[in-house]
Amino acid sequence: MNLRVNSDLWAGFLGLVFAAGFWFSMGRLSNLSAVFPETILLLTAVISVALLVKGLLNPDMRVLFEEGNRLRLVVVTLILFAWWWGIGFLGFVAASLIAFFLLVCYLAAAQRQVTWKLAGIWACVVVAEVAFFYIVFNKLLYVRPPRGLLF
């Protein structure tokens, strides 16, 4: 199914929502702190209105997410956010091993059949790669990745 939308109308609408969201959360600021964001937010609103008008008079129609598989887009996005959440909960190493391996298997399944043997080999590569970057950051660059329930 093609999601064909009026991109000018959408851009104008999102611009207005963005400008309104920031405008109403500005609160009480001194003139020095407020002058620049106020000017830019007003400019954003003007451009958004211009896009809305253009969307009504001479719309730019676009097909959303034209390329590739939309389900894969959603799943990969969810895995990325779950990876972030998992780092805080389980710790960097454990969450990265799980998320990395899941992503490899899921993305590979789109191209080829994933056998147990292949998955085993990939698991070894994933462990080696995560361990390599963990050691580089932890021991060499002195950046301690977050620890959670595990490590």
């Binding site: 000018d8 964001p37 990325l80 972030w84």
Partner: protein, 512 residues
Amino acid sequence: MELFLEALVSILQPHMLLVIFIGVTAGLFVGALPGLTATMALAVLLPFTFTMDALQGLVALGAVYMGTIYGGSFAAILVNTPGTPSSIATTFDGYPMAKQGRAYEAICAATVASVIGGVLGVLALLLLAPPLARMALFFGPAEMFWVAILGLTLIAALSEGSLLKGLLGGCIGMILGTIGVSPVGGESRFTFGIPAMQGGVELIVALIGLFVVPELLLMATRGRAAIDAAGMKTGAREGMAIFLRTARAVLAKPVNLIRSAVIGQVIAIIPGAGGSIASLVSYDAARRSSKRPETFGRGNVDGLVASETSNNVMVAGSMVPLLTLGIPGAPPDAIILGVMMLHGLRPGFELFSTSGVLTNGFILSMGVAALLMLPVGLLGGRVIYRIVVGTPYFFLVPSIALVTILGTYALRNSMVDVLIMLGLGVVGYLLRNIGIGSAPIVLGLILGGIAEMGYVQSVLGGMAYSVPQLRLVENPLSQILVLLVVLAVGAPMVGAWRRRRVGKERDAGGET
């Protein structure tokens, strides 16, 4: 002259050359990793320099600095990620070249441009340091405001199809840049009650989010890597042929190289401007003076050369205010200043005479580092290129995700930054679908802060006038910059009007 020759001899010692070689190589790989900046590389190296003598320590820092800025171009070309903020404009044409199967050509062009930029920067530092330092003093808040506005005119070039959408992207970027503590008033803005937002949106976090995450999502949805592996099957002889052909093409356009070097040098001496602005302004100048501006952003090697020349001029160029006035032109320079102070060296014009061997040796070592980037870069570039292109896409996507998550976290040890990076990435991907590209947003984020600082400081300085804003156009340099802004905005409009008129006349002539 005697001091200069003595410095040259001390730099050409085998152990010094080894330090430079290791520094450039390490810098190249650090710069190629998204999120790891030159400042971070120098900060990590800093404790190791304590055991070195003053010259060796400064040489090591200079070599790593050079290598890191150059290494940023690899990530920009191969995965559309500016490895360092200085290579943002490299992504505009470098990545399209890679997608067209011209990745190695792009790496060769970046290498040649970086070497030339690095050497020109060193020459300018050796020969013109005192007059350039005096010039830096002319750039006040008003001039910085106009430099930022001049940079913002680039939005017109970066808008993909619709100028209005490009401008909207620029405004979104500028507003994102205002999140956190305001630079002049010191009040919290747009933190939405989240304490971690006080620090604002870090530029590199936004760069990684807006450039890398959408590419990862695209690769995942397409089910294949963005760069074709076909171009990888080049042997050493074929690789050398590509390098020679590209080097000839780059050298055949000396005006582009010189113009980019001059822009890079002028911006380098302005404290706080940074390599990202130098590369953006040079890119814009190259596009405007090109006979085929429409090919920029679609794999035009001239855009890549302009960006890489100017950001490598920056490295030595930013040493001008540092060595002569004691003002660090860019964050990594502050670390170099710290090492100088540690060894009892006081920046100033007399540094060139009282510690002439050391100062000239340090400057010359950066020239040697720039020259070493040629063999190191071509070999290292080939290795990185083969790794990126040869890795199956289902390993490439999570590998890049792992490095970006770690790199983003490493900036401020903050998982909130990682969340912002992922959030901006997904929003960037959605906005790209409705025609709002990532480049104008990032441009707004970079330049918005500088424009705000310049504007507010100028208005504060002009409180004695009935119209404080008059301070913005008071100085002759400001007026020149205003003229450049007017030309940058007006010239394309006049050009478009003329083309329409000629087209109409031609149509009318054809009809009669």
